[in-house]
């Protein structure tokens, strides 16, 4: 016999467990993906051409906007479906990791449950909006 409150608590703790796991996995993957981006930026013709700022911008979010101010040839190496998919994946990890972090911080400091629910709802809307913005920037605004 499972009480409703008990079931709610269990499903909530399951959610926390999944988010805990996701935070660790996405964090490690983001570090590895950033290192891979920097190495490949140099292999793809960025060596001696990109400045440190451009390399780090490319590492954080490998989108052709981020290196268009340097002298590298954008096509085909820096602007192709592989990096589009890669940057969207990296952004999805980053946005979800960040939104979850803000959710944890809100839970730490906001004591009023109704206010907390509203703030979480706003956070979810912001997460959806920024994911939509990223999809647009990566796939539709390339080369604008």
């Amino acid at each position: 016999m499972v009480t409703q409150a008990g079931a709610a608590r269990r499903s909530r703790s399951k959610f926390e467990l999944y988010m805990w796991f996701f935070t660790r996995v996405s964090g490690i993957l983001m570090l590895l993906m950033g290192a891979y981006s920097i190495i490949y930026a140099n292999l793809m013709g960025g060596r001696g051409v990109m400045d440190a700022g451009a390399e780090l911008r490319w590492a954080f979010f490998p989108i052709s906007f981020h290196v268009s101010s340097t002298d590298v040839e954008l096509t085909p190496n820096f602007q192709n479906p592989f990096w589009q998919f890669y940057s969207l994946l990296l952004f999805a990890f980053a946005a979800t990791h960040g939104a979850n972090g803000i959710r944890v911080i809100l839970k730490d400091y906001v004591r009023h449950p109704v206010l907390l629910a509203w703030l979480n709802a706003m956070l979810f809307v912001l997460w959806l909006a920024i994911m939509g913005a990223a999809v647009y920037l990566v796939f539709a605004a390339q080369g604008a």
Binding site: R24, G53, I102, A141
Partner: protein
């Protein structure tokens, strides 16, 4: 699950938690900083490139100029690198709990890795040098 503590701000400042407290505070501040500034940058980019006439938008241009300034780039580098390395330390200690015996040493190792990884690119960004 954190417990709700009722402490005043002076009490909170006077609390001397040492290295672990510094790590927790920097991790949290860096995390909030990344969400705020990178989120702002993405929305500014969206206004610039996705909205008709957006390239003339004063607010989006001001936000982009602010974000692209060298001090801001160095701040973002600090925040991302610190948050990443500190997170990696936490993951390693969580994966192998027996290492908790050396958790203070782990923090010093973290600083030893962090400082060159941060200071060298920060210097290169500051002077705008080509690398590779």
């Amino acid at each position: 699950m954190s417990k709700l503590a009722r402490v005043s701000i002076p009490q909170a400042i006077a609390y001397r938690g040492g290295q672990p407290m510094t790590a927790w505070l920097l991790h949290r501040l860096a995390g909030i900083g990344i969400v705020l500034f990178v989120g702002m940058h993405v929305f500014a980019g969206f206004i610039l490139y996705a909205i008709p006439g957006g390239t003339a938008n004063t607010v989006a241009n001001a936000l982009t100029e602010f974000y692209e300034a060298r001090p801001m780039q160095i701040f973002v580098l600090f925040a991302v690198l610190y948050h990443g390395l500190n997170g990696l330390r936490i993951v390693v200690l969580d994966m192998w709990p027996s290492l908790h015996r050396y958790h203070r040493e782990a923090m010093w190792v973290q600083w030893a890795v962090f400082l060159p990884l941060f200071l060298i690119p920060a210097f290169l960004i500051a002077i705008g040098a080509k690398v590779g």
